[in-house]
């Protein structure tokens, strides 16, 4: 049951507040009883802001401070020295860090590429609205709701060289006996792309589907009148109309994949060697295994600034596309 104005009016016994102004003027500057609006606003927003200040902003400021020191969290009693920009200098000249950023870039770019191709493809197919499309859509969406760490764990089982069903299927088709996906230096970076794509192509699909459904029918009918072929229709109507949605999906995926940790840690833990050591795994090693807290704080800040900056530029671009 909807509780609208009639139901609210049951509380008539309460006298009308500020009975002065005539009805039409009420909507804009109605004086309510009880707490004033600005006070209530701050009471309502305050706790959220306080919690975020305590658990996000304060730690961020602390990280910035730590990034200029040589602090090590496993030796809390040692005197902390201010080292200026030395941590940043070390990071920008470290080959390890450049390697880890290259691994991350490979992972982010290729996984997004495949997710866009598969996601958009599936969305176009589902948009044909065949019988049962809702059922199949729900099934397709399941992987993206699962815990990435647990997904990583069970994919290591599927990738087992001896017993894994993935390897069995590959061997069945190519006939090679000792195929391995996550143990191979060349294939491991593709293994993480594969699993991430399996998990998140449905995400791109769902957002593209919303885009496709937002295109009004009459545009296609006009194209039909103009005798535009299917290819032309796709490139001059469908794609431009879906583009803002697709770009939004890419934004969210890019931020998430740039931060990626859980899936890759459980799948390959960065190996073999450091071929799949994405930025977050490297950061975890520096911060919680080597305990170079100052150094890793500087790296964390660099990563955050990169994501934040890139996201801001991208959103500007997205708004320009939307406005077109």
């Amino acid at each position: 049951m909807r509780i609208g104005p009639p139901a609210a009016r049951v509380g008539r016994q309460v006298p009308l507040a500020g009975a002065g102004p005539a009805r039409p003027a009420l909507a804009g500057r109605l004086r309510a009883r009880g707490l004033s609006d600005p006070l209530l606003a701050w009471l309502f927003i305050g706790p959220t802001i306080l919690l975020l200040l305590a658990i996000n902003i304060f730690p961020l400021l602390w990280t910035i401070w730590l990034s200029f020191t040589n602090y090590r969290a496993n030796r809390p009693n040692e005197t902390v020295e201010w080292v200026g920009l030395r941590n940043y200098q070390r990071i920008l000249t470290s080959e390890d860090i450049w390697h880890t950023l290259q691994v991350t870039a490979h992972f982010v770019c290729w996984s997004i590429f495949f997710q866009v191709v598969i996601g958009l493809g599936l969305a176009l197919l589902i948009n044909r609205q065949f019988k049962g499309s809702g059922f199949w859509t729900t099934l397709i969406l399941l992987p993206m709701m699962l815990s990435p760490a647990v997904v990583g764990t069970f994919w290591t089982y599927l990738f087992q060289p001896q017993a894994g069903i993935f390897n069995y299927i590959v061997n069945f088709f190519i006939g090679a006996g000792d195929f391995t996906m996550i143990g191979d230096v060349r294939l491991a970076p593709w293994a993480i792309v594969l699993v991430d794509t399996w998990m998140w192509a449905p995400y791109v699909m769902l957002i593209c589907l919303a885009g496709l459904r937002s295109i009004p029918d009459y545009i296609y009918e006009a194209a039909e009148v103009d005798r535009a072929g299917p290819v032309r229709t796709f490139f001059s109507i469908t794609l431009p109309m879906v583009l803002p949605f697709l770009m939004l999906a890419v934004l969210f995926r890019a931020i998430e994949n740039f931060k990626m940790f859980d899936l890759v840690v459980e799948l390959t833990s960065g190996g073999p060697g450091s071929t799949t050591e994405v930025a977050s795994i490297n950061l975890k090693r520096e911060a919680f295994e080597k305990w170079r807290t100052g150094f890793s704080s500087a790296f964390a800040i660099i990563l955050f600034v990169t994501v934040f900056g890139a996201a801001n530029i991208y959103v500007k671009l997205l708004n320009r596309v939307k406005a077109r």
Partner: protein, 316 residues
């Protein structure tokens, strides 16, 4: 759809539809293999789980589920022979592998932690989020857009980067490895989602309803409580499920900030693998029990999924 549009470009032909249906179904079936396979594996025996070629037909066993809940020790045949007959079916199952049950494993505890931390943080995030979302939706708040963007930007930090100072802060405050610490942390992470989603839902509730209530002498707070909240119930429920799923699935913070006491299931499941790294059925059983609630929630949520995964940026 009216019959006269049936042959236009908007409505695809029967062949096109059939082709689309076949391709989509094929993708769905292939994509579901990993999930189905892990559920099947949870009912295999350890030796069947590492058989080559992988077996699709096998006699089901509950060994994985017994193993995930128990700790077992291997015994000599003489000792086994000296034992009284097994009291329960799971005793018998374990003894058939020349082992005895030494005690419960920590899986149940970890699962329970996931439930406490998941529900605790969801409640807090939705409670705070509802209040903030209402204020952002209805009141003139100075710097509103900046505040909203600030709330969203807290999601852009890599979890490991947040974990460094949180680790130090919690160590000082004595919150390391406690339920309260994890609940507060997950609440803070989920607040961005909950504020943004709920603001979207609140924006859709017509203001006239509250204004009518105000005219009738309700205070602003009463109007919020008695008029707006009942209208927002669906949105609040959907938001709560999204927060719960995030907290349930979270791994990085749990791995770095908890160990013995407040550890949740995700960092624990990979460690189930056991002696020789071969007990895949136990891992599969733990995984299955962990995933089933999520699969149920996904089906329940399917109409709100789009909103949830885009922080309310895309609505149907």
């Amino acid at each position: 759809m009216s019959p006269d549009t049936a042959r236009s470009v908007v409505e695809p032909g029967a062949t096109a539809k059939l082709l689309a249906a076949v391709l989509v179904a094929a993708y769905a079936l292939v994509a579901l293999i990993p999930i189905v396979w892990i559920v099947l594996t949870s009912f295999k025996t350890p030796s069947a789980a590492i058989a080559y070629p992988p077996s699709v037909l096998f006699s089901p066993s509950l060994e994985g589920y017994v193993n995930v809940f128990t700790q077992r020790t291997r015994q000599t045949p003489e000792y086994m022979a000296s034992l009284p007959p097994p009291e329960t079916w799971y005793d018998a199952l374990v003894r058939s592998r020349n082992m005895v049950i030494a005690g419960p494993s920590r899986f149940a505890e970890r699962y329970w932690n996931s439930i406490i931390i998941g529900f605790g943080s969801t409640f807090l995030a939705v409670f705070l989020g509802t209040l903030a979302a209402y204020a952002f939706s209805r009141f003139r708040v100075p710097l509103k857009d900046d505040l909203l963007f600030f709330i969203l930007s807290t999601r852009m930090m890599p979890p490991i980067a947040v974990a460094i100072p949180i680790f130090l802060m919690y160590r000082t405050l004595g919150l390391s490895d406690t339920h309260l610490g994890m609940i507060l942390l997950y609440t803070a992470v989920n607040l961005s989602l909950s504020v943004w989603l709920l603001k979207g839902f609140m924006d859709e509730i017509p203001r006239e309803y509250e204004e009518a209530a105000l005219v009738d002498g309700y205070s602003r707070f009463q109007a919020f409580l008695k008029v707006v909240l009942p209208q927002a119930v669906t949105g609040i429920a959907a938001t709560a499920i999204f927060c719960l799923i995030f907290a349930w699935n979270e791994y990085a913070f749990a791995l770095l900030l908890t160990s013995g006491n407040a550890q949740t299931a995700p960092p624990f499941i990979p460690t189930i693998i056991g002696e020789g790294g071969l007990d895949w059925p136990a891992v599969a059983a733990g995984t299955t029990m962990f995933l089933v609630p999520i699969l149920v929630f996904t089906v329940l949520l399917r109409r709100h999924l789009l909103r949830g995964i885009t922080f309310g940026a895309v609505r149907k």
